[in-house]
Amino acid sequence: MQLVCPAGNLPALRTAIDAGADAVYLGFRDQTNARAFPGLNFDDNEIRQGIAYAHARGRQVYLALNTYPDSARLAHWHRAVDQAAELGVDAIIAAEMGVLDYACRTHPKLARHLSVQGSATTAPALRYAFERFGIARAVLPRVLSVQQVERLCQNAPIPLEVFAFGSLCIMVEGRCQLSSYVTGASPNRHGVCSPARFVRWDEHDGGERSVRLNDVLIDRFQPEEPAAYPTVCKGRYGVGGEIFHALEEPTSLNTLELLPRLAQAGVAALKIEGRQRGAAYVDAVTRTWRAAIDRHRVAPEAWTAQPAWQNTLSAHAEGHQTTLGPYHRAWH
Protein backbone atom coordinates (compact mmCIF):
# COMPACT_ATOMS: atom_id res chain seq x y z
CA MET A 1 0.00 0.00 0.00
CA GLN A 2 1.23 3.39 -1.00
CA LEU A 3 1.27 6.25 1.52
CA VAL A 4 0.05 9.52 -0.02
CA CYS A 5 0.73 12.64 2.07
CA PRO A 6 -0.28 16.30 1.94
CA ALA A 7 2.05 19.10 0.86
CA GLY A 8 0.67 22.57 1.42
CA ASN A 9 4.00 24.14 0.50
CA LEU A 10 7.57 23.21 -0.43
CA PRO A 11 8.90 22.73 3.14
CA ALA A 12 5.93 20.43 3.86
CA LEU A 13 6.67 18.48 0.68
CA ARG A 14 10.30 17.91 1.73
CA THR A 15 9.15 16.98 5.22
CA ALA A 16 6.65 14.44 3.88
CA ILE A 17 9.21 12.87 1.53
CA ASP A 18 11.86 12.72 4.28
CA ALA A 19 9.34 11.16 6.65
CA GLY A 20 8.55 8.35 4.21
CA ALA A 21 5.68 9.38 1.94
CA ASP A 22 5.51 7.32 -1.27
CA ALA A 23 3.74 10.21 -2.94
CA VAL A 24 2.72 13.74 -2.07
CA TYR A 25 -0.20 15.73 -3.41
CA LEU A 26 -0.26 19.46 -3.91
CA GLY A 27 -2.08 22.21 -5.77
CA PHE A 28 -1.56 25.39 -7.74
CA ARG A 29 -1.97 28.70 -5.95
CA ASP A 30 -5.45 29.40 -7.34
CA GLN A 31 -9.00 28.09 -7.41
CA THR A 32 -8.13 24.98 -9.43
CA ASN A 33 -7.75 22.97 -6.23
CA ALA A 34 -9.97 22.44 -3.22
CA ARG A 35 -7.55 24.00 -0.71
CA ALA A 36 -7.27 27.48 -2.19
CA PHE A 37 -6.40 29.07 1.14
CA PRO A 38 -4.17 32.15 1.28
CA GLY A 39 -0.55 31.23 2.04
CA LEU A 40 -0.89 27.65 0.76
CA ASN A 41 0.05 25.88 -2.44
CA PHE A 42 2.67 26.14 -5.18
CA ASP A 43 3.82 28.16 -8.16
CA ASP A 44 5.47 26.46 -11.16
CA ASN A 45 8.97 26.96 -9.86
CA GLU A 46 8.14 25.45 -6.47
CA ILE A 47 6.47 22.48 -8.16
CA ARG A 48 9.59 21.90 -10.27
CA GLN A 49 11.73 21.93 -7.15
CA GLY A 50 9.27 19.65 -5.39
CA ILE A 51 9.20 17.15 -8.25
CA ALA A 52 13.00 17.15 -8.46
CA TYR A 53 13.23 16.50 -4.73
CA ALA A 54 10.67 13.69 -4.82
CA HIS A 55 11.90 12.02 -8.01
CA ALA A 56 15.52 12.05 -6.81
CA ARG A 57 14.27 9.86 -3.95
CA GLY A 58 12.05 7.63 -6.06
CA ARG A 59 8.79 9.18 -4.88
CA GLN A 60 5.86 10.67 -6.75
CA VAL A 61 4.04 13.99 -6.94
CA TYR A 62 0.32 14.30 -7.67
CA LEU A 63 -1.36 17.55 -8.57
CA ALA A 64 -4.91 18.21 -7.38
CA LEU A 65 -7.14 19.94 -9.95
CA ASN A 66 -10.24 18.94 -8.08
CA THR A 67 -12.64 21.87 -8.31
CA TYR A 68 -15.52 22.40 -10.73
CA PRO A 69 -14.99 25.15 -13.32
CA ASP A 70 -18.02 26.80 -14.86
CA SER A 71 -18.07 27.33 -18.63
CA ALA A 72 -16.45 30.77 -18.56
CA ARG A 73 -13.47 29.54 -16.51
CA LEU A 74 -12.99 26.09 -18.03
CA ALA A 75 -10.11 27.22 -20.26
CA HIS A 76 -8.12 28.14 -17.15
CA TRP A 77 -8.47 24.56 -15.86
CA HIS A 78 -7.44 23.25 -19.28
CA ARG A 79 -4.29 25.35 -19.06
CA ALA A 80 -3.66 23.96 -15.59
CA VAL A 81 -3.80 20.44 -17.06
CA ASP A 82 -1.29 21.49 -19.75
CA GLN A 83 0.94 22.92 -17.04
CA ALA A 84 0.70 19.73 -15.01
CA ALA A 85 1.81 17.71 -18.03
CA GLU A 86 4.62 20.11 -18.82
CA LEU A 87 5.88 20.15 -15.24
CA GLY A 88 6.00 16.37 -15.25
CA VAL A 89 3.80 15.51 -12.29
CA ASP A 90 3.11 11.81 -11.93
CA ALA A 91 -0.67 12.18 -11.93
CA ILE A 92 -3.42 14.73 -11.70
CA ILE A 93 -6.25 14.28 -9.23
CA ALA A 94 -9.46 15.61 -10.80
CA ALA A 95 -13.20 15.28 -10.41
CA GLU A 96 -14.82 17.42 -13.08
CA MET A 97 -15.82 15.77 -16.35
CA GLY A 98 -14.63 18.60 -18.60
CA VAL A 99 -11.23 18.61 -16.91
CA LEU A 100 -10.83 14.83 -16.98
CA ASP A 101 -11.96 14.61 -20.59
CA TYR A 102 -9.53 17.32 -21.68
CA ALA A 103 -6.67 15.62 -19.84
CA CYS A 104 -7.57 12.25 -21.35
CA ARG A 105 -7.69 13.60 -24.91
CA THR A 106 -4.79 16.05 -24.75
CA HIS A 107 -2.28 14.36 -22.45
CA PRO A 108 -3.13 10.65 -22.55
CA LYS A 109 0.15 9.70 -20.89
CA LEU A 110 -0.51 11.89 -17.86
CA ALA A 111 -2.12 9.58 -15.28
CA ARG A 112 -5.55 10.63 -14.04
CA HIS A 113 -6.85 9.86 -10.56
CA LEU A 114 -10.51 10.45 -9.82
CA SER A 115 -10.63 12.85 -6.88
CA VAL A 116 -12.71 12.28 -3.77
CA GLN A 117 -14.79 15.24 -4.98
CA GLY A 118 -15.97 12.98 -7.82
CA SER A 119 -18.24 11.26 -5.26
CA ALA A 120 -17.87 7.82 -6.86
CA THR A 121 -19.13 5.27 -4.33
CA THR A 122 -20.15 2.33 -6.53
CA ALA A 123 -18.73 0.04 -9.18
CA PRO A 124 -20.92 1.59 -11.92
CA ALA A 125 -19.77 5.11 -10.99
CA LEU A 126 -16.14 3.94 -11.11
CA ARG A 127 -16.81 2.20 -14.40
CA TYR A 128 -18.10 5.46 -15.80
CA ALA A 129 -14.94 7.34 -14.86
CA PHE A 130 -12.78 4.50 -16.18
CA GLU A 131 -14.58 4.10 -19.51
CA ARG A 132 -15.04 7.81 -20.10
CA PHE A 133 -11.73 9.22 -18.86
CA GLY A 134 -9.40 6.26 -18.50
CA ILE A 135 -8.68 6.94 -14.85
CA ALA A 136 -5.85 4.93 -13.31
CA ARG A 137 -7.05 5.23 -9.71
CA ALA A 138 -9.99 6.58 -7.71
CA VAL A 139 -10.08 8.14 -4.26
CA LEU A 140 -13.16 6.98 -2.38
CA PRO A 141 -15.39 9.45 -0.52
CA ARG A 142 -15.38 9.14 3.24
CA VAL A 143 -18.88 7.67 3.43
CA LEU A 144 -18.33 3.93 3.06
CA SER A 145 -18.04 1.31 5.76
CA VAL A 146 -14.99 -0.95 5.72
CA GLN A 147 -17.17 -3.80 4.43
CA GLN A 148 -18.31 -1.60 1.57
CA VAL A 149 -14.70 -0.64 0.79
CA GLU A 150 -13.76 -4.32 0.74
CA ARG A 151 -16.56 -5.16 -1.68
CA LEU A 152 -15.74 -2.22 -3.93
CA CYS A 153 -12.09 -3.33 -4.09
CA GLN A 154 -13.37 -6.58 -5.63
CA ASN A 155 -15.67 -4.89 -8.15
CA ALA A 156 -13.80 -1.76 -9.18
CA PRO A 157 -12.15 -1.63 -12.60
CA ILE A 158 -9.20 0.35 -11.18
CA PRO A 159 -7.12 0.48 -7.96
CA LEU A 160 -8.60 2.46 -5.06
CA GLU A 161 -7.23 4.98 -2.61
CA VAL A 162 -8.92 5.63 0.73
CA PHE A 163 -8.57 8.25 3.43
CA ALA A 164 -6.57 6.98 6.37
CA PHE A 165 -6.17 9.96 8.65
CA GLY A 166 -7.01 13.62 9.07
CA SER A 167 -9.75 16.11 9.64
CA LEU A 168 -13.05 14.45 8.90
CA CYS A 169 -15.21 15.90 6.16
CA ILE A 170 -18.56 14.37 7.06
CA MET A 171 -20.50 15.27 3.95
CA VAL A 172 -20.10 13.51 0.61
CA GLU A 173 -17.21 15.49 -0.82
CA GLY A 174 -18.01 17.47 -3.91
CA ARG A 175 -21.67 17.64 -2.96
CA CYS A 176 -21.76 19.94 0.06
CA GLN A 177 -23.10 23.48 -0.31
CA LEU A 178 -23.16 24.47 3.37
CA SER A 179 -20.29 26.95 2.99
CA SER A 180 -21.70 28.46 -0.17
CA TYR A 181 -25.19 28.70 1.34
CA VAL A 182 -23.75 31.06 3.96
CA THR A 183 -20.91 32.82 2.12
CA GLY A 184 -21.48 32.32 -1.62
CA ALA A 185 -17.97 30.87 -1.86
CA SER A 186 -18.07 27.15 -2.40
CA PRO A 187 -15.53 24.34 -2.15
CA ASN A 188 -16.59 23.11 -5.59
CA ARG A 189 -16.42 26.43 -7.40
CA HIS A 190 -13.89 28.44 -5.40
CA GLY A 191 -11.81 25.77 -3.73
CA VAL A 192 -12.59 26.92 -0.21
CA CYS A 193 -14.81 25.83 2.63
CA SER A 194 -15.53 28.57 5.16
CA PRO A 195 -13.20 31.25 3.72
CA ALA A 196 -11.18 33.11 6.36
CA ARG A 197 -12.34 36.52 5.12
CA PHE A 198 -15.90 35.66 6.21
CA VAL A 199 -14.86 34.49 9.69
CA ARG A 200 -15.28 36.91 12.59
CA TRP A 201 -14.29 36.20 16.18
CA ASP A 202 -15.79 38.35 18.96
CA GLU A 203 -14.63 38.31 22.55
CA HIS A 204 -17.27 39.04 25.17
CA ASP A 205 -17.22 39.99 28.85
CA GLY A 206 -15.95 37.11 30.94
CA GLY A 207 -13.76 35.81 28.12
CA GLU A 208 -16.44 33.99 26.14
CA ARG A 209 -15.81 34.03 22.40
CA SER A 210 -18.25 33.74 19.57
CA VAL A 211 -17.49 32.97 15.94
CA ARG A 212 -19.53 34.03 12.95
CA LEU A 213 -19.36 33.05 9.30
CA ASN A 214 -20.68 35.91 7.16
CA ASP A 215 -22.63 37.02 10.25
CA VAL A 216 -24.24 33.63 10.94
CA LEU A 217 -23.39 32.48 14.48
CA ILE A 218 -21.52 29.17 14.16
CA ASP A 219 -20.49 28.66 17.79
CA ARG A 220 -19.69 30.16 21.19
CA PHE A 221 -16.79 29.04 23.37
CA GLN A 222 -16.11 29.29 27.08
CA PRO A 223 -12.86 31.11 28.06
CA GLU A 224 -10.72 27.95 28.32
CA GLU A 225 -12.54 25.92 25.72
CA PRO A 226 -10.44 25.02 22.66
CA ALA A 227 -11.92 26.21 19.39
CA ALA A 228 -11.40 24.58 16.01
CA TYR A 229 -11.54 26.36 12.66
CA PRO A 230 -15.18 27.33 12.14
CA THR A 231 -16.92 25.34 9.43
CA VAL A 232 -20.71 25.14 9.31
CA CYS A 233 -20.70 21.37 9.86
CA LYS A 234 -18.68 21.56 13.09
CA GLY A 235 -20.64 24.29 14.86
CA ARG A 236 -23.13 24.00 17.72
CA TYR A 237 -26.78 24.70 17.07
CA GLY A 238 -30.20 24.34 18.58
CA VAL A 239 -32.22 21.27 17.57
CA GLY A 240 -35.30 20.19 19.50
CA GLY A 241 -34.51 22.58 22.36
CA GLU A 242 -30.93 21.40 22.91
CA ILE A 243 -27.64 22.97 21.89
CA PHE A 244 -25.03 20.52 20.56
CA HIS A 245 -22.78 19.64 17.65
CA ALA A 246 -25.79 18.70 15.55
CA LEU A 247 -23.78 17.75 12.46
CA GLU A 248 -20.31 16.84 13.75
CA GLU A 249 -17.86 17.40 16.58
CA PRO A 250 -14.39 18.67 15.76
CA THR A 251 -12.65 15.33 15.34
CA SER A 252 -10.30 13.50 13.01
CA LEU A 253 -10.65 10.29 11.10
CA ASN A 254 -8.13 7.64 12.14
CA THR A 255 -8.23 4.22 10.47
CA LEU A 256 -4.96 2.86 11.86
CA GLU A 257 -6.62 -0.17 13.45
CA LEU A 258 -8.17 -1.03 10.06
CA LEU A 259 -4.81 -1.15 8.29
CA PRO A 260 -4.67 -4.97 8.02
CA ARG A 261 -8.19 -5.13 6.59
CA LEU A 262 -7.51 -2.37 4.08
CA ALA A 263 -4.29 -4.12 3.01
CA GLN A 264 -6.06 -7.45 2.75
CA ALA A 265 -8.83 -5.87 0.66
CA GLY A 266 -6.27 -4.70 -1.86
CA VAL A 267 -6.53 -0.94 -1.26
CA ALA A 268 -3.79 0.61 -3.41
CA ALA A 269 -3.07 3.73 -1.39
CA LEU A 270 -3.78 5.39 1.93
CA LYS A 271 -4.29 9.12 1.92
CA ILE A 272 -3.45 11.52 4.72
CA GLU A 273 -5.54 14.69 4.81
CA GLY A 274 -4.13 18.08 5.76
CA ARG A 275 -2.52 20.38 3.22
CA GLN A 276 -3.48 23.24 5.50
CA ARG A 277 -1.58 21.72 8.45
CA GLY A 278 1.97 22.57 9.53
CA ALA A 279 5.25 20.70 9.07
CA ALA A 280 5.07 19.14 12.56
CA TYR A 281 1.78 17.47 11.66
CA VAL A 282 3.06 16.24 8.29
CA ASP A 283 6.24 14.90 9.84
CA ALA A 284 4.66 13.08 12.79
CA VAL A 285 1.69 11.67 10.91
CA THR A 286 3.74 10.52 7.91
CA ARG A 287 6.38 8.83 10.11
CA THR A 288 3.72 7.06 12.12
CA TRP A 289 1.89 5.66 9.11
CA ARG A 290 5.18 4.78 7.41
CA ALA A 291 6.17 2.73 10.44
CA ALA A 292 2.75 1.09 10.64
CA ILE A 293 2.68 0.15 6.95
CA ASP A 294 6.28 -1.12 6.96
CA ARG A 295 5.71 -3.19 10.07
CA HIS A 296 2.63 -4.70 8.50
CA ARG A 297 4.43 -5.50 5.27
CA VAL A 298 7.16 -7.38 7.11
CA ALA A 299 4.97 -9.24 9.57
CA PRO A 300 1.25 -8.96 8.79
CA GLU A 301 0.25 -11.72 11.21
CA ALA A 302 1.97 -10.11 14.18
CA TRP A 303 0.76 -6.59 13.45
CA THR A 304 -1.11 -4.61 16.06
CA ALA A 305 -1.79 -0.88 16.29
CA GLN A 306 0.92 0.31 18.67
CA PRO A 307 -0.24 2.60 21.52
CA ALA A 308 2.67 4.96 20.72
CA TRP A 309 1.39 5.33 17.15
CA GLN A 310 -2.13 6.03 18.35
CA ASN A 311 -0.87 8.57 20.88
CA THR A 312 1.03 10.45 18.20
CA LEU A 313 -1.95 10.47 15.88
CA SER A 314 -4.33 11.61 18.61
CA ALA A 315 -2.00 14.45 19.49
CA HIS A 316 -2.30 15.72 15.93
CA ALA A 317 -6.03 15.14 15.58
CA GLU A 318 -8.58 17.90 15.47
CA GLY A 319 -9.88 18.42 19.01
CA HIS A 320 -7.43 15.62 20.01
CA GLN A 321 -10.22 13.18 19.20
CA THR A 322 -10.24 10.50 16.56
CA THR A 323 -12.95 8.31 15.13
CA LEU A 324 -13.32 5.47 12.67
CA GLY A 325 -16.10 7.57 11.21
CA PRO A 326 -18.21 5.95 8.53
CA TYR A 327 -15.83 2.97 8.25
CA HIS A 328 -17.60 1.83 11.41
CA ARG A 329 -21.33 1.22 10.93
CA ALA A 330 -22.32 2.39 14.39
CA TRP A 331 -21.14 5.93 13.61
CA HIS A 332 -24.00 8.37 13.85
Binding site: S71, G118, T121, A125, V172, Y181, G184, Y237, A246
Partner: protein, 295 residues
Protein backbone atom coordinates in the same frame (compact mmCIF):
# COMPACT_ATOMS: atom_id res chain seq x y z
CA UNK B 1 -42.67 26.95 -19.32
CA UNK B 2 -44.36 24.27 -17.29
CA UNK B 3 -44.38 23.15 -13.69
CA UNK B 4 -42.88 19.97 -12.31
CA UNK B 5 -43.19 18.34 -8.93
CA UNK B 6 -39.74 17.34 -7.72
CA UNK B 7 -39.15 14.15 -5.73
CA UNK B 8 -40.51 13.99 -2.19
CA UNK B 9 -37.43 14.60 -0.07
CA UNK B 10 -39.05 13.69 3.26
CA UNK B 11 -40.38 10.48 4.75
CA UNK B 12 -44.16 10.51 4.90
CA UNK B 13 -46.52 7.69 5.87
CA UNK B 14 -47.59 5.51 2.98
CA UNK B 15 -51.21 6.68 2.88
CA UNK B 16 -50.18 10.33 3.13
CA UNK B 17 -47.80 9.93 0.19
CA UNK B 18 -50.33 8.13 -1.98
CA UNK B 19 -53.04 10.69 -1.15
CA UNK B 20 -50.62 13.51 -1.99
CA UNK B 21 -49.90 12.18 -5.46
CA UNK B 22 -53.53 11.36 -6.19
CA UNK B 23 -54.32 14.97 -5.33
CA UNK B 24 -51.47 16.08 -7.62
CA UNK B 25 -53.19 14.50 -10.63
CA UNK B 26 -55.54 17.51 -10.62
CA UNK B 27 -52.74 20.07 -10.27
CA UNK B 28 -51.36 21.99 -13.27
CA UNK B 29 -48.04 20.12 -13.20
CA UNK B 30 -46.60 18.59 -16.34
CA UNK B 31 -44.01 16.24 -14.81
CA UNK B 32 -43.90 14.35 -11.54
CA UNK B 33 -40.68 12.92 -10.09
CA UNK B 34 -41.30 9.83 -8.00
CA UNK B 35 -39.03 7.86 -5.73
CA UNK B 36 -36.71 8.02 -2.75
CA UNK B 37 -33.69 10.29 -3.19
CA UNK B 38 -32.40 10.57 0.40
CA UNK B 39 -32.41 7.31 2.39
CA UNK B 40 -32.93 3.72 1.24
CA UNK B 41 -34.24 2.73 4.67
CA UNK B 42 -37.38 4.71 4.00
CA UNK B 43 -39.65 1.94 2.79
CA UNK B 44 -43.22 3.04 3.37
CA UNK B 45 -43.24 2.75 -0.40
CA UNK B 46 -40.91 0.13 -1.82
CA UNK B 47 -39.45 0.30 -5.30
CA UNK B 48 -42.34 -1.71 -6.73
CA UNK B 49 -44.83 0.66 -5.04
CA UNK B 50 -43.17 3.69 -6.58
CA UNK B 51 -43.24 2.01 -9.98
CA UNK B 52 -46.94 1.12 -9.56
CA UNK B 53 -47.69 4.73 -8.60
CA UNK B 54 -45.70 5.91 -11.62
CA UNK B 55 -47.81 3.71 -13.91
CA UNK B 56 -50.99 5.07 -12.37
CA UNK B 57 -49.95 8.72 -12.77
CA UNK B 58 -48.64 8.18 -16.28
CA UNK B 59 -51.93 6.55 -17.25
CA UNK B 60 -53.64 9.67 -15.88
CA UNK B 61 -51.70 11.73 -18.41
CA UNK B 62 -48.69 12.97 -16.45
CA UNK B 63 -45.10 12.70 -17.53
CA UNK B 64 -43.37 10.65 -14.84
CA UNK B 65 -39.66 10.43 -14.05
CA UNK B 66 -38.29 7.88 -11.56
CA UNK B 67 -35.82 9.54 -9.17
CA UNK B 68 -32.82 7.74 -7.76
CA UNK B 69 -30.82 8.08 -4.55
CA UNK B 70 -28.26 10.89 -4.31
CA UNK B 71 -25.85 8.69 -2.35
CA UNK B 72 -25.56 4.99 -3.14
CA UNK B 73 -23.44 2.86 -0.81
CA UNK B 74 -24.91 -0.63 -0.52
CA UNK B 75 -25.43 -3.39 -3.07
CA UNK B 76 -29.15 -3.40 -2.18
CA UNK B 77 -29.35 0.27 -3.18
CA UNK B 78 -27.67 -0.51 -6.47
CA UNK B 79 -30.17 -3.34 -7.08
CA UNK B 80 -33.08 -0.97 -6.45
CA UNK B 81 -31.56 1.50 -8.91
CA UNK B 82 -31.14 -1.26 -11.48
CA UNK B 83 -34.84 -2.14 -11.13
CA UNK B 84 -35.80 1.48 -11.82
CA UNK B 85 -33.55 1.69 -14.88
CA UNK B 86 -34.63 -1.70 -16.21
CA UNK B 87 -38.33 -0.90 -15.98
CA UNK B 88 -38.05 0.78 -19.34
CA UNK B 89 -41.16 2.96 -19.50
CA UNK B 90 -39.88 6.04 -17.66
CA UNK B 91 -36.95 8.42 -17.73
CA UNK B 92 -34.66 8.28 -14.70
CA UNK B 93 -33.57 11.24 -12.58
CA UNK B 94 -29.87 10.44 -12.15
CA UNK B 95 -28.70 11.92 -8.89
CA UNK B 96 -25.26 10.38 -9.01
CA UNK B 97 -22.84 8.85 -11.52
CA UNK B 98 -24.01 5.30 -10.76
CA UNK B 99 -27.38 6.10 -12.30
CA UNK B 100 -25.75 7.83 -15.27
CA UNK B 101 -23.68 4.74 -15.99
CA UNK B 102 -26.59 2.31 -15.69
CA UNK B 103 -28.71 4.48 -18.01
CA UNK B 104 -25.79 4.79 -20.42
CA UNK B 105 -25.20 1.02 -20.46
CA UNK B 106 -28.89 0.32 -21.12
CA UNK B 107 -29.74 3.24 -23.39
CA UNK B 108 -32.30 4.71 -20.99
CA UNK B 109 -32.94 8.48 -21.19
CA UNK B 110 -32.24 10.41 -18.02
CA UNK B 111 -32.58 13.76 -16.30
CA UNK B 112 -29.47 15.02 -14.51
CA UNK B 113 -30.69 15.85 -10.99
CA UNK B 114 -29.32 18.74 -8.95
CA UNK B 115 -26.91 16.60 -6.91
CA UNK B 116 -25.08 15.45 -10.03
CA UNK B 117 -22.21 17.91 -10.47
CA UNK B 118 -22.65 19.60 -13.85
CA UNK B 119 -20.95 22.97 -13.93
CA UNK B 120 -19.98 23.53 -17.57
CA UNK B 121 -21.01 22.87 -21.15
CA UNK B 122 -18.43 20.16 -21.78
CA UNK B 123 -19.72 18.04 -18.91
CA UNK B 124 -23.26 18.62 -20.14
CA UNK B 125 -22.33 17.71 -23.73
CA UNK B 126 -20.83 14.42 -22.55
CA UNK B 127 -23.93 13.61 -20.54
CA UNK B 128 -26.08 14.37 -23.57
CA UNK B 129 -24.07 11.72 -25.45
CA UNK B 130 -24.78 9.38 -22.53
CA UNK B 131 -28.56 9.88 -22.81
CA UNK B 132 -29.30 13.08 -20.88
CA UNK B 133 -32.55 14.72 -22.01
CA UNK B 134 -33.05 17.29 -19.27
CA UNK B 135 -30.76 19.11 -16.88
CA UNK B 136 -31.59 20.41 -13.41
CA UNK B 137 -28.67 22.72 -12.46
CA UNK B 138 -27.20 22.31 -8.98
CA UNK B 139 -28.53 24.67 -6.33
CA UNK B 140 -25.57 27.05 -6.33
CA UNK B 141 -25.81 27.93 -10.03
CA UNK B 142 -27.65 31.17 -10.72
CA UNK B 143 -28.96 32.65 -13.94
CA UNK B 144 -25.61 34.08 -15.09
CA UNK B 145 -23.78 30.75 -14.84
CA UNK B 146 -26.61 28.84 -16.49
CA UNK B 147 -26.77 31.37 -19.32
CA UNK B 148 -23.01 31.19 -19.91
CA UNK B 149 -23.16 27.41 -19.96
CA UNK B 150 -26.03 27.25 -22.45
CA UNK B 151 -24.42 29.81 -24.76
CA UNK B 152 -21.17 27.82 -24.67
CA UNK B 153 -23.16 24.69 -25.52
CA UNK B 154 -24.72 26.51 -28.49
CA UNK B 155 -21.27 27.62 -29.64
CA UNK B 156 -20.15 24.01 -29.54
CA UNK B 157 -23.05 23.15 -31.83
CA UNK B 158 -24.76 20.86 -29.32
CA UNK B 159 -28.56 21.05 -29.15
CA UNK B 160 -29.77 22.24 -25.76
CA UNK B 161 -31.52 19.69 -23.56
CA UNK B 162 -34.60 20.70 -21.59
CA UNK B 163 -33.75 22.92 -18.64
CA UNK B 164 -35.47 22.59 -15.29
CA UNK B 165 -34.82 25.06 -12.47
CA UNK B 166 -35.73 24.68 -8.80
CA UNK B 167 -38.51 27.23 -8.42
CA UNK B 168 -39.99 26.60 -5.01
CA UNK B 169 -39.11 24.67 -1.85
CA UNK B 170 -36.20 24.00 0.50
CA UNK B 171 -32.84 23.65 -1.20
CA UNK B 172 -30.94 20.37 -0.76
CA UNK B 173 -27.46 21.40 0.42
CA UNK B 174 -25.52 18.30 1.39
CA UNK B 175 -25.51 14.53 1.94
CA UNK B 176 -23.56 12.45 4.44
CA UNK B 177 -22.86 8.90 5.56
CA UNK B 178 -24.18 10.07 8.89
CA UNK B 179 -27.86 10.27 9.73
CA UNK B 180 -28.34 13.63 11.44
CA UNK B 181 -31.88 12.79 12.52
CA UNK B 182 -30.60 9.69 14.35
CA UNK B 183 -27.81 11.78 15.86
CA UNK B 184 -30.24 14.45 17.09
CA UNK B 185 -32.36 11.76 18.74
CA UNK B 186 -29.26 9.99 20.10
CA UNK B 187 -30.06 6.69 18.47
CA UNK B 188 -27.82 4.56 16.23
CA UNK B 189 -28.03 4.92 12.47
CA UNK B 190 -28.82 1.23 12.13
CA UNK B 191 -31.50 1.43 14.84
CA UNK B 192 -33.05 4.66 13.67
CA UNK B 193 -36.63 3.41 14.05
CA UNK B 194 -37.46 5.37 10.88
CA UNK B 195 -38.01 8.43 13.03
CA UNK B 196 -37.79 10.76 10.02
CA UNK B 197 -41.47 10.00 9.70
CA UNK B 198 -42.04 12.25 12.71
CA UNK B 199 -40.60 15.24 10.80
CA UNK B 200 -42.59 15.61 7.57
CA UNK B 201 -40.84 18.89 6.76
CA UNK B 202 -37.45 17.97 8.27
CA UNK B 203 -36.09 18.79 11.71
CA UNK B 204 -35.44 22.53 12.21
CA UNK B 205 -31.91 23.58 13.20
CA UNK B 206 -31.33 27.12 14.43
CA UNK B 207 -28.28 29.11 15.48
CA UNK B 208 -27.63 29.69 19.18
CA UNK B 209 -29.27 33.08 18.69
CA UNK B 210 -32.45 31.33 17.59
CA UNK B 211 -32.12 32.23 13.91
CA UNK B 212 -33.67 29.50 11.73
CA UNK B 213 -30.79 28.13 9.66
CA UNK B 214 -30.98 24.57 8.31
CA UNK B 215 -33.24 21.54 8.16
CA UNK B 216 -32.08 18.06 9.09
CA UNK B 217 -33.61 15.40 6.87
CA UNK B 218 -31.93 12.06 7.62
CA UNK B 219 -28.59 12.02 5.82
CA UNK B 220 -29.47 15.23 3.98
CA UNK B 221 -29.15 18.84 5.12
CA UNK B 222 -31.38 21.50 3.57
CA UNK B 223 -31.62 25.25 3.87
CA UNK B 224 -34.40 26.28 6.25
CA UNK B 225 -35.86 28.88 3.90
CA UNK B 226 -38.48 28.02 1.33
CA UNK B 227 -37.28 29.79 -1.79
CA UNK B 228 -39.54 31.10 -4.50
CA UNK B 229 -38.46 32.14 -8.00
CA UNK B 230 -41.91 33.36 -9.10
CA UNK B 231 -40.67 36.99 -9.30
CA UNK B 232 -37.88 35.86 -11.64
CA UNK B 233 -40.14 34.54 -14.39
CA UNK B 234 -39.11 37.13 -17.00
CA UNK B 235 -35.46 36.09 -16.62
CA UNK B 236 -36.37 32.39 -16.54
CA UNK B 237 -38.18 32.87 -19.85
CA UNK B 238 -35.23 34.73 -21.38
CA UNK B 239 -33.00 31.83 -20.43
CA UNK B 240 -35.34 29.38 -22.12
CA UNK B 241 -36.15 27.41 -18.99
CA UNK B 242 -38.61 24.61 -19.81
CA UNK B 243 -39.68 23.47 -16.38
CA UNK B 244 -39.95 25.07 -12.96
CA UNK B 245 -39.58 22.56 -10.13
CA UNK B 246 -41.62 22.60 -6.94
CA UNK B 247 -40.35 20.45 -4.06
CA UNK B 248 -43.15 18.92 -1.99
CA UNK B 249 -43.48 20.36 1.50
CA UNK B 250 -45.90 19.10 4.10
CA UNK B 251 -48.10 22.17 3.93
CA UNK B 252 -48.68 24.56 1.07
CA UNK B 253 -47.46 22.61 -1.95
CA UNK B 254 -50.87 23.01 -3.61
CA UNK B 255 -50.83 26.74 -2.80
CA UNK B 256 -47.33 27.05 -4.28
CA UNK B 257 -48.40 25.26 -7.45
CA UNK B 258 -51.41 27.55 -7.81
CA UNK B 259 -49.21 30.59 -7.12
CA UNK B 260 -46.63 29.60 -9.76
CA UNK B 261 -49.33 28.66 -12.23
CA UNK B 262 -50.87 32.13 -11.79
CA UNK B 263 -47.43 33.70 -12.14
CA UNK B 264 -46.89 31.87 -15.44
CA UNK B 265 -49.98 33.46 -16.96
CA UNK B 266 -49.75 36.87 -15.28
CA UNK B 267 -48.64 39.84 -17.36
CA UNK B 268 -46.54 41.40 -14.62
CA UNK B 269 -44.22 39.63 -12.17
CA UNK B 270 -46.00 38.39 -9.06
CA UNK B 271 -45.05 39.01 -5.44
CA UNK B 272 -43.13 36.11 -3.87
CA UNK B 273 -44.72 33.64 -1.50
CA UNK B 274 -41.36 32.47 -0.21
CA UNK B 275 -37.81 33.77 0.24
CA UNK B 276 -35.44 35.13 -2.35
CA UNK B 277 -32.97 32.50 -3.53
CA UNK B 278 -29.61 34.25 -3.27
CA UNK B 279 -27.89 31.65 -5.44
CA UNK B 280 -30.02 32.67 -8.40
CA UNK B 281 -28.48 36.17 -8.18
CA UNK B 282 -24.88 35.03 -7.66
CA UNK B 283 -25.06 35.58 -3.90
CA UNK B 284 -24.97 33.22 -0.92
CA UNK B 285 -27.98 30.90 -1.11
CA UNK B 286 -29.30 32.03 2.27
CA UNK B 287 -31.24 35.22 1.75
CA UNK B 288 -29.94 38.44 3.25
CA UNK B 289 -26.28 37.36 3.44
CA UNK B 290 -23.56 39.70 2.20
CA UNK B 291 -22.35 39.06 -1.34
CA UNK B 292 -19.18 36.97 -1.66
CA UNK B 293 -17.21 39.89 -3.12
CA UNK B 294 -18.32 42.33 -0.40
CA UNK B 295 -16.27 40.85 2.44
Amino acid sequence: MQLSLGPLQYFWPRERTLAFYREAIAWPVHTLYLGETVCSKRRELRTRDWIALAEELADAGKQVVLSSLALIEAESELSALTRLVDHGRFWIEANDLSAVQLCRERGVPFVAGPSLNVYNHEALAMLIQDGLRRWVPGVEQGHVLIDELLCALDAKGVARPEIEVIGWGRLPLSYSARCFTARALDIGKDDCGFRCIDYPDGLPLSTREGRPFLRINGIQVQGDEIVDLAPELPRLRELGVDLLRVYPQEVGTDVAIAHLDRALTAETPVAPLGQRNGYWHGEPGMSGQARPDAA
